[in-house]
């Protein structure tokens, strides 16, 4: 795996919007969750039609200021609806 490729897991409606279960981003400039969100929002306009979405890093909800690097497990979580 290339060291500057982020592998982003997609779930629920995010898979439909992004068109893949794992979306790859090759980037040296994305350093935190906020930058990742800006990238995704510009690339996939439809993400803005959601009732928000969250980013998880290593199985925890992440804040915009949380740092990420390609070795992290990153996921796009649209609004959950379990239960």
């Amino acid at each position: 795996m290339n060291s500057d490729v982020f592998n982003i897991k997609c779930f629920g409606i995010a898979t439909d919007i992004i068109g893949e279960r794992t979306y790859q981003i090759e980037s040296n400039s994305i350093k935190n969750v906020g930058e990742l969100r800006l990238y995704l929002d510009s690339k996939f306009e439809q993400l803005k039609t959601l009732n928000n979405y969250m980013i998880a890093v290593n199985h925890s909800y992440a804040l915009p200021e949380d740092c990420i690097d390609p070795s992290d497990e990153i996921a796009i979580l649209p609004p959950v609806s379990g239960g």
Partner: protein
């Protein structure tokens, strides 16, 4: 303190959930059982599909279980959730809680299902007669 967390593609058993929380020192046991409804917002549902982010869902469910044991005077809690296809009237989720006195098990059980619905990475796709959609995704 005992917690049992399970995500399963097989039917969930109320008896298994109940057996996992009973305790000779507890008198109160509360179970919430969420089942699949045939009608949602006036549309006829044929079945549901639950997608889960497995490891994170388990981790979030454990957090809820531990939080319940911190906030309420309970000793045992089990949370079971289905994944994959689930038919009408089948069980999607079971939360079982036991406590010495009854008030705590009600509070913890309701808190747990509220938190589950808000925070656990599980997504429900509703299959209707005329198509399907991800529940709650869009306004």
């Amino acid at each position: 303190m005992t917690t049992n967390i399970k995500i399963s593609s097989e039917p969930l058993s109320i008896d298994t959930a109940y057996q996992s929380v009973i305790d000779a020192s507890n008198g109160g046991n509360c179970l919430f059982v969420g089942t699949v409804r045939d009608i949602n917002k006036d549309k006829k549902v044929t079945h549901l599909d639950f997608e889960t982010y497995g490891p994170m869902a388990i981790s979030e469910l454990k957090k809820i279980a531990v939080e319940c044991q911190t906030k309420f005077d309970i000793t045992k809690i089990s949370i079971f959730h289905r994944e994959g296809k689930v038919s009408i009237t089948e069980i999607a989720v079971i939360i079982a809680v036991s406590s010495k006195h009854r008030k705590a098990c009600f509070l913890a059980c309701e808190y747990a299902i509220d938190q589950l619905k808000m925070n656990v990475p599980i997504w429900k796709k509703e299959h209707l007669e005329g198509g399907s959609f991800w529940v709650g995704a869009r306004p």
